[in-house]
C-alpha cells in the first residue's frame, strides 16, 4: 500500500433548505472541493458517493452518475455506497483502498442527504430502515428509541446520569455556535438540555441530532503526487471499516460497539498511534449517549467513565481531548449520507489551520468516527500533518 493524502475539501452549509434538491447540494460541495484543490473534473478517475436513503427521501435512484456527470466528471466509475449513517465513511474507506493499492491517482468522495422534504414522522420511518425491520422496527422501535435503550442500559451498568448526557449536548451546541456552516448555531443551557420534549425516554429532543440537508466532498491522491495539487496535503494515516449485527437485540452487550472497537484498533495499528496520541476527534454523536459510548470504544477513556469525563470538561474545546469542535451531528447537523465525509472535511480544516473560530491549538493528529445504524457499521479514520 502506498501513502495517501486528502488534497481538497468542500461542503455546503448544513440546514433545512426547502429550495434545494439533492443534486444541487452535492454539486455545490463537489465544485467547492474541485476549486479548493485546483483539480479539473477531467483529472478525477473515480467518483465514490455516500448516500443513505436518497431514493426514499427524494424518489431519485442511480445517484452516483446523476451527480458526477453534473460535476463534469465523465466516463469514470461512479458508485454509491450505503452503510446507513456511515455511508460516506464507507465510501471514503473504499476510495482510500483503491488509491492506496495503486488503482487510481485522483478520486473524489462525496456524501449527500436531502432529508427535510419529508415530514418528521416519515423521516423517522425512513431512518428506521437502518434497523432490523423484521424484529425491532416491527415492534415499534425508532432510532432514538434504540439509542434510548442503550442509554438506559449504560445508566444501569455504569451509573451514567441524565446530566452527563445533557453535558454532551451543551458542549456540542457551544461548539456549533462557532461554526458558520452549522445547522443550529445556538448555545443551550443545562436546564434547556434537561427539559427538552421527550422523544424516547430517557432521551429528549436535545439528546438527538438534527434532520438536515447537506453535502460534503473530498479529493484524495497518493502522497507522492499530492504536492502537484496543494502545498498543504493532509495524510490519511489510518482508516478502517468494521461491521456487526444490525439488530440491537443480537448484541451480547449494547453498552459497547464491537465494530467501533475493531475499526479503531485497525486504524490505530495502521497509523502507528494509540488513543492517547489523538489530539482531537470528530465522533458520531447522533445521540448524546452515542458520543459517550464512542469515546469509551475509541479508548479515550475507560469503559463506563465516558459520562463523568464528558461532564467534567475533558472533551470541551479547552479540554485535553476536544471532541466535536465542529458542533458534531448535534449542532452542525446530520444529513446522514454526508456526515462521514463532512467529518473528514472538519479534520482537514483543523489540521491545515483553516478552521476559523473553531480552530484548535493542538491540531496535528485528528480522528473521525462514523457510525452506521445502532453499531452495525463503523469507519474510523486518522488524519495528520504530512
Amino acid at each position: 500500500m502506498r501513502p495517501v493524502a486528502v488534497i481538497a475539501a468542500g461542503k455546503t452549509r448544513f440546514g433545512a433548505f426547502p429550495d434545494r434538491d439533492l443534486r444541487s447540494l452535492a454539486v455545490e460541495a463537489g465544485e467547492k472541493c474541485l476549486k479548493n484543490g485546483h483539480v479539473s473534473p477531467s483529472q478525477v478517475e473515480a467518483f465514490y458517493l455516500g448516500n443513505f436513503a436518497g431514493p426514499s427521501f427524494t424518489g431519485q435512484n442511480h445517484l452516483a452518475p446523476y451527480i458526477s456527470t453534473a460535476l463534469g466528471i465523465r466516463d469514470v466509475p461512479a458508485t454509491r455506497f450505503e452503510a446507513a449513517c456511515a455511508s460516506s465513511g464507507s465510501a471514503f474507506f473504499h476510495a482510500f483502498s483503491a488509491v492506496a493499492s495503486g488503482l487510481y491517482d485522483c478520486v473524489m468522495v462525496a456524501g449527500v442527504e436531502k432529508m427535510t422534504s419529508q415530514p418528521t414522522a416519515r423521516v423517522t420511518e425512513i431512518l428506521a430502515g437502518a434497523g432490523d425491520c423484521s424484529g425491532e422496527i416491527k415492534a415499534g422501535s425508532t432510532f432514538p428509541s434504540l439509542f434510548a435503550m442503550i442509554a438506559r442500559r449504560h445508566m444501569y451498568q455504569f451509573g451514567t446520569t441524565r446530566e452527563q448526557l445533557a453535558a454532551v449536548a451543551v458542549k456540542n451546541h457551544a461548539n456549533g455556535a462557532l461554526n458558520p456552516d452549522a445547522h443550529m448555531r445556538k448555545v443551550i443551557t443545562m436546564d434547556q438540555a434537561l427539559n427538552g420534549r421527550p422523544v424516547a425516554e430517557p432521551l429528549g429532543v436535545f439528546d438527538c441530532s438534527l434532520i438536515s440537508d447537506g453535502a460534503a466532498a473530498v479529493i484524495m491522491a497518493p502522497l507522492d503526487r499530492a504536492r502537484d495539487f496543494t502545498n498543504k496535503p493532509v495524510r490519511i494515516l489510518g482508516v478502517a471499516q468494521a461491521s456487526d449485527f444490525v439488530a440491537l437485540d443480537q448484541k451480547p452487550d449494547i453498552t459497547t460497539f464491537p465494530a467501533v472497537r475493531r475499526a479503531a484498533q485497525k486504524a490505530y495499528e495502521m497509523a502507528g498511534v494509540g488513543p492517547q496520541d489523538i489530539q482531537f476527534a470528530e465522533v458520531h454523536d447522533c445521540f448524546t449517549i452515542a458520543e459517550i459510548v464512542a469515546i469509551e470504544d475509541l479508548g479515550f477513556i475507560e469503559r463506563g467513565l465516558g459520562g463523568p469525563w464528558s461532564q467534567s470538561g475533558h472533551t470541551a474545546r479547552t479540554g485535553e481531548k476536544p471532541v466535536n469542535a465542529s458542533g458534531g451531528l448535534k449542532s452542525k447537523g446530520h444529513p446522514v449520507g454526508a456526515t462521514g465525509v463532512a467529518q473528514i472535511c472538519d479534520l482537514f480544516a483543523q489540521i491545515r489551520c483553516e478552521a476559523g473560530d473553531m480552530q484548535l491549538k493542538r491540531n496535528s493528529l485528528g480522528l473521525a468516527q462514523n457510525l452506521g445504524g445502532s453499531g452495525a457499521s463503523c469507519v474510523v479514520s486518522i488524519l495528520g500533518n504530512v
Binding site: A121, R122, G135, K138, P202, D249, Q250
Partner: protein
C-alpha cells in the same frame, strides 16, 4: 414464556404506523434460554431486571406483561 427486562424505553415520537399507540414502551427481553427479543409492553411500565411474561404475539411482535411474583 418468561424473561427479564434487559433494557427499555418509552417512545413519544413514532412513525405514522405507531402514532396511535404513543406513548408506548419497547423492551429487549432476555429469555430463559439466554436469547434476546425486542417486543412491546402490554400493561404497566417495566424497568430493567423486572420479570416479564409474554402474553400475546401480534403480527409477529411479542407483547410482555410484568410477571406476578
Amino acid at each position: 414464556m418468561i424473561g427479564s427486562v434487559y433494557t427499555e424505553t418509552v417512545v413519544h415520537l413514532a412513525p405514522e404506523a405507531f402514532a396511535k399507540d404513543v406513548p408506548y414502551q419497547v423492551v429487549i427481553v432476555t429469555l430463559e434460554d439466554g436469547t434476546r427479543v425486542t417486543g412491546r409492553v402490554a400493561g404497566d411500565r417495566v424497568t430493567i431486571g423486572d420479570l416479564v411474561e409474554r402474553v400475546e404475539v401480534r403480527d409477529g411482535v411479542p407483547f410482555f406483561l410484568k410477571a406476578s411474583s
